[in-house]
Structure formats: structure tokens, C-alpha cells
Symmetry: C2
Subunit: 252 residues, 2 copies
DNA sequence: CGATCTGTTGATGCTCATCAAATCCAGTGG
DNA sequence: CCACTGGATTTGATGAGCATCAACAGATCG
């Protein structure tokens, strides 16, 4: 049941059997959330660490005028808020965008883990660094690329991460994100998102069918979006998707 | 000489005498850089941790077409790259934008510190979390605010941080950032940056004189920019600037 | 089977980019 | 001290990209 987390951490280093047990022990009860429910909200006291096990989630902030800015999309295995041990209040919110399950780890158990499992601590720390690195790339994306390139770049990132998370092994991935949510993440309106997607479809780069996104031309969308996956720090990742992709195309 | 770093860490928790000594011991030789020189570059092997002691620096990424996206402005006391211990290559660059001095800490010494000084480790960890939090707010800024509000928001952030870093105790701060660099950070051109600054001046919100930025109306620029300093996590910070500001205005 | 959420398309206007030229300013050297 | 130089800033004119408003078409679901 904690496989997604282990799979995630193993992008940094392999987990020993002992470490798997340690993780299993500290993992608290599993929460099930509906689509649209918040896991935690900005300004709330932070309590425990959450781990996304199934489904998708978004990290977001809301401005006073009600505008939502999405800060990250979370896939199974992602840690939602390792911050908890050091910061007393959340500065952002987290929302399930599909039916999702989360495991929680209490502060005490996290502290125990830090004390007794140095290798796992490093893996958690690494996960935080990757989150930060992704944030930096999103800033580049929104700050300096056109809307269509932004969206294409996000698609490249999501495919690469979905693949690392074991959600897919080809160029298709489940895609539960609405155009409104996509716009909130890319800093554009849902209307313009629709036009951008039409453009990407007409260009033969992607297509959509029953809530899946298909990347039709991996090489071309990568170069169109200037996607360089180094920032995902997935060095220890496994073989490439089948089809027209290759390992070097995906991870270099 | 390491006072800026201590001042920075004390925004999280006070440093004991023992901890000050520990810091002093591990701090390596001081580097002096000219304006425009890089401290480290993207794709380079990461070697040691750098701490900015004097001057200003920018964290940035460059896209293939040569466009620069600034990811952060660093003030004295800021840690440049705590990442180093876990990531083998940098995914971004760091550049001095004034003559600046940096101290370096070797990987081994950082590891030693983590092992022997749990409280300092937490402070370093906290510093990383704040960097990440600032990145999130920048994403909101660029993704969902107009150019003039973006710039105003940045000014609010810089004043608050400059004050926490002990660079000023009123509503003025040294301002070595060119309009080009400001534009690179805000995702706008230098031409438009110039127009935005003219607007903010005409509105009576700010003024510039001999490389200093004066915030003329703190309450109004704060509300104009929707600035909410909670994300800087400066809870343990000291009294407010003099003039028309008050603690609650600055830190709430 | 209406109700509601999501996606598509068109018309119009604002924000900001782009190109270009002029001005200002700090430094440098005669 | 003044002329020169290269960077930084300002201003104007024009156009591209995206927002906004509005209407409609499909989905999805109780």
C-alpha cells in the first residue's frame, strides 16, 4: 500500500527491507478524499505529514480577489508537506482533484524517522529539493515562455513524472485536469487554455481521449517546449517508454 | 564576519555561543566577487555550500534562446545552495549583482554539522523551507498579478527581508538592481519595467535616489500589491521600521 | 431529463512586447 | 576640465498575445 512512496523515494536511492518496514510502521491511517476536497488549507496549523498514495492533487494559493494559482500537481508517492516539522502554519492549500487516498505521518513519527533512519531522512530531504527545483522550472515556464510552450512543457513534465511513478510505460497518461485547472497552473484563462490545446492538437503534438493525454510526437513536443528533464533529478530512473521515445530522449 | 548568517538563522531561533563557534569553525575561506561574476553555474558539479556575507546576488536560469529568468534575489546572510549535499549537479546559476563576498562550507563540514548540531541543522532546513515558500509566492506573483503589482510586491518583500537582515531600519533600502534585472525577475521587458516604475513613482508609492529605493507609502503599496508577509516566515523578527510603519503592518 | 459543469468559438479591447531613437549618467582617458 | 564611451533609462509608435464577455455545444449526473 505504501508502494507509491517507496517507488518515489527509490528515484533517489534503493530502499532496504528494513527501511520499508520502518516506513510501514510510521504510516498512520489512510484518508479518502473526494474530488475537490482540501487536504489542508493555508493559515491552518500544520499537524501531520501527508503522503499521496492514489489519485492526483494540486498545491495552490488563492489571492484576495479569488484568483487561484496552482503551484504543483502531485502524483501518487509524492510527499505533500514535509514542511510540517519546522513551520507552524501552512502558507498554501492542497486539494484532491480526483478521488484520492492519503496516508499521514505524525510529527513525532517523522522526528523519530529523522533520528533513526539517516538514509530515509536523506531521501525525504531529496524529495523536498526536487519539489523546489520543479518550482524553479515552473517560474521559468510562466515567466518566460508563451502560453502554448508552457502547456507543452507541463505535459512533458507530467509524462516524465508519471512514468517515474509507474503510472504508465508509454506516451499516454491518465489526465484528470480540467482546462480551468490547467489555466490556473499556467497563469492563463480557461478560454485561452482551450485555444492552446486546440493548437497543440492541430500541430499533431498531443491528443485526448477518455481522460487520457497522448503525446503523439515526443521528440517534437520536447524541443517545442524546450523541455530539459534534468531539473526533475530522476537520475536513478528506469527504462524509457516504448514507442518513439528512448531513454536518452526522456532523461537527458 | 559571519554575523549576517547568524542574524539570518536567528529569524528561526536564537543561536547559542556554542553554535556560533561551530559555525565559525566550519566556515571556509571568503571569496570576493565582482559585480556580474557567477558564483556557480547550472550543470556544474556542486562542490561546497556558499553563504552570501556582503552584497547582493541573483539566482537565475537561462533558456536556450538566451532569455534570463531570475528566481531569487539574495541578501547578506542568505544560504545559496544547501542542495549541494544531495544533488550532484546544479540546475541553476548564481551571480553577484554587486561586489560581494561569500563564505564557503565544504560538504564534509556540512555533514559534520548535521550530525553534531541538530538545532543548527533545523535552522538550515528552515532556511530552505523559506526559500521554497518565497518561490511559491513568486509563482503567484508572476502567474496572477499585473506587472505593476508584481513589482510593488517585490519591493514589499525586499524591504521586509532587508529589514530582517539588518540592512535598514526604516522604509529605505539600498537598491542595486537594474531595470533589466528587475524585468528578468518579473517576466517583463526592461522597457515595460521602466514604464511600471514611472507609474509607481507617479502614484507616490516609491521614489529612487542614488541607488536607494524609498517606500513612500507603506500601507498603500502593501494593499496595492496584496502583500502578506506570512510566507517569509519571519515570526521571530524584531521591531518595526520607524516612520509610518508599525510591527503589525510589517509582519502580519 | 433538466441541471450543472466543462469545453468551444467569436468579437473586442487591454496589457505588454518589440523596434527604434534619444537622453542621461558614471567612468575613463586625454 | 572636457570629450568620449558604453551602459542604463526614458519615450514613442506599432502590433502580438492574451483577457474578457458572451453565447452555445457537449458531457456528466442525480
Amino acid at each position: 500500500m505504501i508502494e507509491p512512496l517507496i517507488k518515489r523515494l527509490e528515484n533517489f536511492q534503493p530502499c532496504t527491507l528494513d527501511e520499508r518496514c520502518a516506513l510501514k510502521e510510521i504510516l498512520g491511517p489512510v484518508k479518502r478524499l473526494q474530488r475537490g476536497q482540501d487536504v489542508f488549507r493555508a493559515y491552518e496549523k500544520s499537524t501531520e505529514v501527508n503522503v499521496l498514495l492514489e489519485g492526483w492533487a494540486t498545491r495552490y494559493k488563492m489571492t484576495k480577489d479569488g484568483h487561484v494559482q496552482t503551484l504543483a500537481f502531485l502524483l501518487p508517492g509524492d510527499l505533500c508537506n514535509i514542511h510540517v516539522t519546522l513551520v507552524d502554519r501552512m502558507d498554501h492549500s492542497l486539494c484532491a482533484i480526483t478521488p484520492a487516498t492519503f496516508a499521514s505521518i505524525t510529527r513525532e513519527n517523522i522526528e523519530k524517522l529523522y533520528a533513526s533512519q539517516p538514509r530515509l531522512s536523506r531521501a525525504f530531504f531529496w524529495s523536498m529539493l526536487v519539489d523546489e527545483s520543479i518550482l524553479r522550472e515552473w517560474l521559468v515556464n510562466i515567466g518566460s515562455r508563451s502560453a502554448s510552450k508552457r502547456v507543452a512543457h507541463l505535459f512533458c513534465e507530467l509524462l516524465t513524472r508519471a512514468w517515474a511513478a509507474g503510472l504508465t510505460d508509454d506516451h499516454s497518461l491518465p489526465f484528470p485536469i480540467t482546462q480551468q485547472q490547467l489555466g490556473d497552473a499556467m497563469g492563463i484563462t480557461s478560454v485561452h487554455t482551450s485555444r492552446v490545446l486546440t493548437y497543440l492538437r492541430n500541430e499533431g503534438l498531443v491528443c485526448f481521449h477518455n481522460h487520457h493525454l497522448d503525446i503523439l510526437d515526443w521528440a517534437r513536443i520536447k524541443s517545442f517546449a524546450e523541455f530539459e528533464p534534468a531539473y526533475l533529478h530522476l537520475a536513478n530512473a528506469a527504462p524509457a517508454p516504448a514507442g518513439n521515445g528512448s531513454l536518452s530522449q526522456l532523461t537527458r
